[in-house]
């Protein structure tokens, strides 16, 4: 687990310590703790990128702190998903806690297979988990683009 940030490591360990049923409860907690979007996004939904791989509508946005971002710039990550889609919101909640506030280099270093390390494949089905992988891929792509822009 040395390739994970401390936050991600802790999340992975939390899930690993639970039974499958409890993992779903934890996922629901993440869903409920997903922060609302700041007004600058709710007023301008066109700034958000849709993630059609998710089971239910999910939108995300990524911001880097500096005008000329570097690998050390802090990354802010925002997600929006309806309350009627708690699984998708839960995935977003995990990624928000794990990624928001990391540096660009740290975000890019997050392993792509993190969604598969949460022990959720059997509890929620691999098909549903694909949505989380898609969110992570898109966040990383956005950070990459910001660095090379």
């Amino acid at each position: 687990m040395t390739d994970l940030t401390p936050t991600l490591s802790a999340i992975v360990e939390d899930f690993a310590a639970l039974t499958e049923r409890e993992r779903l409860e934890l996922l629901l907690e993440f869903s409920e703790n997903l922060p609302d979007l700041p007004a600058r996004f709710t007023d301008h939904p066109e700034l958000l990128e849709p993630v059609p791989e998710c089971q239910s509508p999910l939108f995300l946005a990524v911001e880097l702190a500096d005008d000329a971002p570097t690998a050390d710039s802090l990354v802010r990550v925002f997600f929006s998903a309806p309350r009627e889609a708690p699984t998708t919101r839960g995935f977003a909640g995990i990624l928000h806690e794990a990624l928001d506030g990391l540096t660009a280099a740290e975000v890019l270093a997050v392993p792509d297979d993190v969604p598969n390390r949460l022990g959720l494949a059997r509890a929620v089905s691999p098909l549903r988990l694909r949505g989380m992988s898609a969110m992570l891929t898109r966040v990383k792509r956005r950070v990459e683009r910001a660095l090379t822009a």
Binding site: E53, Q55, T87
Partner: protein, 300 residues
């Protein structure tokens, strides 16, 4: 003992009113012996955010599908599932769910494959229950495990497989219940939905396009019988004396249409092709038509 049928006169217009219950009936019968209420949603966590008091949860992916083979659980698996949920063979099962009851209808269809005698759908589903202002709870139901017999699944009357569908082209009416863009081949999955992997877009030759939502009223309940007859009998050319096959992408939306045709309009020979577009659109060599025209038997 099965519970009495919902006497609501609105249900009497349908061929099998005993397959449907209103929110009023369900609210009045909650907690009665012999009734188990089942919630079945697209999203596995929706139930945990609040459900009808006493309702148990059945998930289509992790509980109704076989974990390895693309198929449903077998008789032993279904018996174990029902037993754990407190469902006995003689239990009246009332199913409701999110998304206009897609997954509830899908679960009801699977219960039908096992010949469960009394399984009913909540007209309007979860959304109408909430819109009515009725109670939801997070309190887990007190479930007493039951003995459910191992009954072999009998697919033949209700389920159809790819090769039978191919042989049916030009002989049996096919109903494609997906969105128009999926039908024409512009896209292989629903807008805003994951692509579950069809390699080609389009529809099965001769299939009529009747999107599932045409059967639903604005509040999620089923439309009146006269409207349904206009859509499916006059419009799509189905009739009670002929077979019919409904399909969509993975068999969930077509379960909704199957329910309408089988129980509301009383077409006894309608079957669901659950392989649907994710199978057909990825199969080697099967005929496909693109565009708005159904296409002909020659295309096959």
């Amino acid at each position: 003992m099965a519970l009495p049928v919902d006497p609501n006169p609105r249900l009497a217009q349908y061929t099998h009113p005993e397959r449907l219950v209103t929110t009023e009936w369900l609210a009045a019968n909650l907690g009665r012996d012999g009734l188990v209420v089942v919630e079945s949603d697209e999203d596995i966590l929706v139930y945990a955010t609040g459900h009808i008091p006493g309702a148990v949860h059945i998930d289509w992916q992790t509980e109704l599908n076989d974990p390895v083979v693309r198929d449903y659980v077998d008789g032993a698996g279904f018996a174990a599932l029902c037993g754990a949920k407190g469902i006995a063979r003689e239990t009246t099962v009332g199913i409701y769910g999110d998304k206009s009851n897609w997954w509830a209808a899908y679960a009801l269809w699977v219960f039908t494959l096992f010949g469960h005698p009394d399984v009913r759908l909540l007209d309007g589903g979860r959304d109408l229950w909430i819109a009515d202002g009725r109670e939801l709870t997070r309190v887990a139901p007190a479930t007493t495990p039951s003995e459910y017999p191992v009954v072999a699944r009998d697919d033949a009357p209700y389920r159809v497989f790819r090769d039978e569908v191919r042989a049916a082209i030009g002989r049996i009416p096919l109903i494609d219940v997906r969105s128009p863009a999926e039908y024409t081949g512009e896209r292989t999955h629903m807008p805003d939905y994951p692509d579950e992997g069809a390699l080609r877009g389009g529809h099965i030759p001769t299939a009529a396009s009747v999107p599932w939502a045409r059967a639903a009223a604005a509040d999620g309940t089923f439309k009146a019988r006269a409207e349904l007859e206009e859509i499916y009998l006059a419009g799509a050319g189905l009739s009670a004396d002929r077979e019919a096959i409904a399909y969509c992408r993975i068999g969930e939306r077509s379960s909704h249409t199957w329910f309408v045709l089988r129980f509301l309009l009383g077409l006894p020979k309608v079957r669901n092709y659950d392989g649907s577009w994710t199978e057909w659109g990825s199969s080697v060599g099967v005929p496909i038509v693109q565009g708005e025209a159904p296409g002909s038997i020659e295309a096959a």
